[in-house]
Structures are given as C-alpha cells and as structure tokens.
Amino acid sequence: MTKIESETTKIDRETTKLAVPVRAKFQSVKRIGGWHAIGPIVIFVAILVVVAILTPAFIGGGGLAIIASSSAPILLLALGQAMVLNVGSIDLSNAAIGLLGAILLALTLGPVAGLSPLIVLLATTAFGAVNGLIVAYAQVPSFALTLGTLGIFQAVALVASGRTTVYVSSNGEGIHALYESGIANVPLTFWMGVLVAVSLWVLLRYTRIGRGMTAIGKNESAAIFSAVRTRSLKVLAFALSGFCAGLAGIAIIAQAGSASPTGLGSDLLLPAIAAALIGGTSISGGVVNPLTVIFGALTVALVPIATTAVGIDAQAQSLVYGAVIIAVVALTMSRNKASIVK
C-alpha cells in the first residue's frame, strides 16, 4: 500500500479509443451474467407454475415440501459435484461414495452411536481426498480416474453390506429426526443442503481458497504461475465432494433407515450432475454458484414428480424427462457466440 502512495510515475497515455469496443463487450457480458444467475430460479419457478396450473391440488398439498425433501440427497451430491466441476474436473464416483457412506452409517450406527456420522463423514471425505490426490499428483484425467474408483467404491459397498440391505439396528432416532422434523414443513435434510450451499457460496465468494479454486477452473496454468496451491485445492475440492457425499449418505439413512447397494441413492450420479449443470455450473470449470445449484437440484427432483402430477403417461415420462433436462440446460447456460463447447 505504501508503495502505491509513495510515488508517482509518468506514463505515456495509451490511446483511449480502445475503451469504446471494450465497453460494448462489457455490457454484453453483464447481461449474460445476470441471466446466468437468475436462470435456474426462473426455470424452476416456471415449471412449478405450469404444474400448479395443471394440478392446483399438488402444490396446495405440500408439493413443494415433497420436492424439497426428495431433492435433498441430489442437492448434496450436486453441491459436491459443483465444487469439483469448478476446478475443471469431474467426480463420477461421488454418488457411489455417498451410498457407501450410507451403508457404513447403517453398519456403525448401532455399535458406536453418535460417533458414527462423524466416522462416516471422515471416511467419505478421505475417499474423496484420495480421488483428489491421484488427480492432482498423478495428473490423470478425473473423468477416467473417478470412473475407475466408481467401480471400486461400488464393489466395496456391495461387500461391506454383505450383499444385502443393511438396517440401522439401533440409535437411528437422531439421524431419522433429520427427515422427520423440519423447518416450514421441509425436512432438515434439505435445509442441511441449503446450509452447505450457503457455506460453499461463502467459501467461493469470500475466501482465498474459493478464489483459488475458481482460478484453477478458469485457467489452471495461470493459477500455477500465480502460486495458487493448485494441487492442495484440487484435493480439497474432491474432499469436499466426498464430504457432501457423506452428508448425502446421512440424508439417505435419515429417509430410509437402511441402505443397500441397489437401494435408495444408488442411481443419483447422473441426476446430481444434471442438477449441478442446470444450476448454472459450467462443465468446463470456473463457473459455479452453489445457491443456484439448489434450484438445479429442485428442478431435477421436480421433473419426474411433475410428469406424474400432471398425469403424463407413465411410459412417456422418461422421454419427457430427457427432453426437459436438455431444454433446461439449453435455456439456463451462459454462452457467447465465439465460445467453444465440448
């Protein structure tokens, strides 16, 4: 600071005419940024309004609470995924880690009671961190790596569960309460997701850690040359993904009281990625807003419910789901003419 004030330098004026086109460019960027932030919310509300008009009883009957409660595990996984996407990677194993977490929780809740969620979160965070360590230090593409660890975690879940449904034998009340009790009729599991989203939002927006992560996602080379601790931050992003997956596991146990390798939560990988992308996360990295991811998750949970609620034929629902996912991302994503999309 003292340096800035202490001296004045005479600099030749650079041509000011540059400002004109630059300013024009700024304006367009701003506009896109605005829609980018609002889009996921608008889309969610729009679909909701359509559903409300077609079936008013659904919304009146606590439909929103249902959407929120069923979006909770998706939301938690999507938030973790969004953090990984933000550093330009992807975590295909996080849903498997979440399910493994749920199984571990169901297994340990009886024997070690209150310590169990802690152990599970520690374990899933560690699983995520292992992914991150390999990505950061062996420098392998995360898509391929986590595809591999996905298989490993699935097998571990299958073996750990003894190939059967694991029920919480005792001490399940505390966890179950997360689903049973709620604020404004919405279970705590969802609010847990909102809390995580807000925390991650603060992390990304107001801390150097978050800034560093975003810098990695936008330009990793520049981040390296700016002495951003790229490796540690990547590990952290994956660890956060594991942590969120652990919370998703807790949410699953809270809802079902049991876990099995093919039961609740076994097919959340793609919905969670879709939720992150619908929530405005860029798949190429560097763009994420955890708060809009909440609406991404709500939208993903809403679509199948909405197709049922408005009475679309059961056999057409899959088609509608696919079409809506594409349409929603097409509507919410920010793009400019020159950008390259992979």
Binding site: P21, A215, S221, A227
Partner: protein, 510 residues
C-alpha cells in the same frame, strides 16, 4: 518496383469500411498491391489492422467499399472463400493443428476434389505428402511432410503456415497473397532472420502483406509501408522515402523517445537477491551462474536454443534442474513456485493469455490472486477493499479503462500485461521479478508504458531478471546483460562499465 506494364493488382481495396455498432473500426481504406510486392502494414493495437485482416481472411464482412482480387470483385462469405481466392493468412496466434502432420496442415484447406482427395472422398496420402513437399520446397524448406507439427519448433511452424498459404493459392491457380500477421513476434533473432529470407523468396511467387510491430524489420523486408491509425490508412510510403522515426510518429501520432539510454546506473548492492550457481539441466543448459542485485535489471540474451527461458523458469521454481543451486534471499532449499513466491519472487510468463492471467476473472481478482495484501484478512477476502486496491493500481499503472471489476480478457494486451505486473507488485515484499518476454505482442505505445513500469519497479529496489524480445530492448533497460548460447553463458556485461555493441552481443548469441 515500377508499374510500367500495370498488371492487374493482386489485391485492390476501395474505400472499405467496417463498423461494430457505433465504433467504426475500419474507415474507407483503399489499397492496391501488385504481384511480387511486399507491403508492410503497421499501426498500434486498436488501429484497425486486425479488423482489416479479418475482412481479408473472410472472417468479417465489410460494410462498405469493394474488394477485388486479381481484377475480379469478390465477396467473401467465409474463410474458405478467401482461401479459394488465393489469400492465405498466417495468424498471429499459430493456427496449426499440432496433432496432425505437416502435410495435412498444408493441405487442409485445399478444396475437396483436389489436394490428394480422390473421387471417393478419400485422402490419397502419397499425393498429399508429395504436394506438401512441393509447397515446402517452394519456400526452401526441407521438412518431412509426415512429421507431426507438435514436434516442430516455432520457426518451422511458421514455415508450414506460409507453405500452407501458398499451397492454397496454387491449388486454386491464383497468384497467392500471403498475409503474415506478426510472424516474428514470438521468434528469436536467428529464427527471424531465417523467416526474413523465406519472405523475400515469396516475391517470386506472389505478394505479401507483412504486419509487424518491429519497424526495423518492416524497413528491411518490405517495399512499401502502409500505416493505419484510428481505422484509417493514413500513410502509404516506399521504404526508401521514410525513416523508422517517421513511421513511429505516423503510427502513434507523437514523437518517439530518444533511443539514448538515460538510466542512472545503480552500483550493485553487496548481496545478490538471487544467486544461481552452476545450474545444469540436461539437454537445456549447463553450468549457468547468475547473480541478480536489487535495483538492477539483468537481461539474459540468447536464441531459442540458448536455454534462457528454462533458466528463468528454474529461478521461479516452475521447472526442475539436475544440479547446481538457486538461492533466493539466502534460501537455497528445494525449489518450488510456492517457495519462490513466498521468498518474494514474481514471474511474468511469456504466454500471457494462457499462463499469465485468468482472463475470465475480473481484473481486481487477478491482481489480488497471489498477494491479496490488504484485500484479505486471513483466508477471507474483502471484495470492497479488493476493488479499491485494484483502483489504486489502475490509477498508478494507468490501466484503461478504469474498471477493475471487468473481466481481464476484455482489456487490451498492454493493459492486461500491466494487470499481470500489478499482481506481483501488490506483494508487500517483492524482492525480484522475472520477466519472460514482457513486451511480446504489445504495440509500441503499450510496450513503452510497460517498460516504464518495469523501470520504476526496479528503482524501488527490486531485482529484475529480464528475458527481452530484442537486443535493443535489453540495451534500453538493462544494467547487466548475460548472453547465453547453447545452454552456456557466453558473455557477461555490466553496462555501467562496458558498452557492448549490438553486433558484439549478437556474435555471442550465435
């Protein structure tokens, strides 16, 4: 070049204009190029050069005026049209597919049905290689067309680009017009010399538009020089009737600085900030020892094989080395970027856009990315203070426009480079700054303001290690010059005492 027979002009522009909204980027440009002519096109960044080139390459469509190629009026609907008309552009940023062979890169634009594609739409590889070899031969290059471009050096890549431009015109049986958009900006001197030789050969085949920031090159290579300013073509001179100084004045619209060196030489402090001893990296450099002192600029000269960039990266901890030591402020442990930065070293990489800055991040966040200074308390950032801190830097370094909350990629090159500098200057304890080609791709005006900043940083007691683009740049700013050749130091000069001639330095480089 006299126009006695007046053959049809290879290219004739008549009052060509192009606007973006209210901004008239190109205004009524008229220009005519005869076969065998080499035209120099100069102008500051933002003068309208790139827009004009993009019109010629078919990327933009002009709003007004006419373009005629070989006497026929043309309307380019896309880059393919321009290519078919015989206009080949060698872009500023290299535009080769590094994963493909030389032959394919040369032939990639030839219209289907020719250039080694048979009737079934399949490539005839033998013919493809032969045609490519022929095109390379025309410009005197003996590269194997089967080589992948990723294995080539920069100068050879430029050759491939030129060969491609020529090949395209040959395939469409037109006189080629090759547009070289700052081909020498990232080349070393030796390589530039090779390139210059090749360009002069092009006269026999077609015409050339040569865009460069280096006025001396333009004077050497071209027959005529046209100058653009504010979107208009303000001068069209034969090189015989104009001086470098005059061109500079035309370009920027003001007088140039005296090229006389006006630095007060600071005597070296007793202790160097950075001291490297017998640094060796197999295949790159050997036994390099350099000391950099506070308040002095140390320039390392050398060609692309000299290993000087690798030494600079080793100092910053970005690349490893095999033996020797790098000691920064007395510390000489295991080097890493993190450690180097913690010890007060900054580094401005040559590849600004890919390594120096996060383009899609606002300028203020770029400035505080490494050293947040007062814009953060512990791990927490304070956006408002960050912005005001950035405003101070914008003011101090005259970064325009004064809107640090905007994406850095939307600023012009010179302003971007100043933001990159500010990123390091924001350190409370900057001891040394390693600058790898800090002026690359900047127009003279911008280069001058960046240079001024480097000088003032140095005067504040920071040691500067500079990898300059040109010898002149080194002579202009350095206190010490180290010359490297083939990975070894071939000369050391203290400009306080020595007064090496350019030729002297050049000899030690080659």
């Amino acid at each position: 070049m006299s126009d006695v027979t007046t053959p049809p002009a290879v290219l004739r522009l008549d009052a060509v204009s192009k606007s973006f909204g209210s901004n008239r980027a190109v205004r009524g440009v008229s220009l005519s190029i005869q076969p065998g002519q080499v035209i120099g096109l100069i102008g500051e960044n933002g003068a309208g050069k790139s827009t004009l080139l993009k019109i010629l390459s078919g990327n933009y469509r002009h709003d007004e005026g006419t373009i005629a190629v070989n006497g026929r009026e043309v309307q380019f609907r896309g880059p393919a049209d321009a290519l078919r008309a015989g206009i080949g552009v060698v872009h500023q940023e290299q535009s080769l597919f590094t994963n493909l062979t030389i032959a394919e890169n040369i032939e990639v634009n030839t219209p289907i049905g020719r250039g080694g594609v048979n009737r079934l739409g399949l490539y005839n590889w033998r013919r493809l290689y032969a045609d490519a070899a022929q095109a390379l031969d025309l410009i005197g290059s003996h590269l194997n067309p089967k080589t992948r471009v990723s294995d080539l050096s920069f100068v050879d890549r430029q050759m491939v680009e030129i060969a491609r431009a020529i090949r395209v015109s040959a395939a469409s049986h037109t006189t080629p017009l090759v547009i070289l958009d700052e081909p020498t900006a990232i080349l070393e001197r030796t390589e530039t010399a090779i390139l210059e030789r090749e360009i002069s050969k092009l006269r026999d085949i077609g015409s050339v538009i040569f865009v460069s920031h280096r006025l001396d090159e333009v004077m050497r290579i071209c027959d005529r020089v046209v100058v653009m300013r504010d979107g208009e073509l303000i001068a069209d001179r034969s090189v015989d009737d104009v001086t470098e100084e005059e061109l500079f004045r035309l370009m920027v619209g003001r007088e140039t600085h005296a090229a006389v060196r006006n630095r007060r030489s600071i005597e070296p402090a007793t202790k160097p900030v950075i001291s490297i001893q017998d640094l060796t990296r197999a295949g790159s450099y050997t036994d390099v020892s350099i000391d950099a002192y506070p308040g002095r600029v140390l320039a390392i000269l050398g060609t692309s094989g000299s290993g000087r960039e690798a030494v600079a990266r080793a100092i910053f901890g970005a690349e490893g080395f095999d033996s020797g030591s790098v000691s920064i402020a007395g510390y000489s442990g295991r080097p890493s970027i993190k450690k180097a930065v913690a010890l007060g070293v900054g580094y401005v990489p040559a590849e600004r856009k890919t390594e120096g800055m996060v383009g899609e991040m606002p300028a203020d966040q770029n400035i505080t990315l490494t050293h947040p200074g007062s814009a953060a308390i512990g791990p927490f950032e304070l956006p408002r203070r960050r912005l005001s801190l950035a405003r101070l830097w914008f003011e101090k370094l005259d970064i325009r426009p004064r809107e640090p909350e905007h994406m850095l990629q939307d600023f012009s090159g010179g302003n971007q480079q100043k933001v990159v500098l500010a990123k390091w200057l924001n350190s409370s304890d900057l001891k040394a700054l390693v600058l790898d080609h800090p002026l690359r791709g900047l127009d003279p005006g911008a280069a001058e303001t960046v240079n001024a900043q480097i000088r003032s940083v140095c005067d504040d007691g920071t040691a500067i290690i500079l990898i300059p683009d040109t010898i002149d740049e080194a002579l202009d700013i350095a206190d010490d010059i180290v010359v490297m050749r083939d990975g070894r130091i071939s000369g050391v000069f203290d400009l306080g005492h020595d007064n090496p001639a350019t030729l002297d330095l050049l000899e030690r480089m080659l």
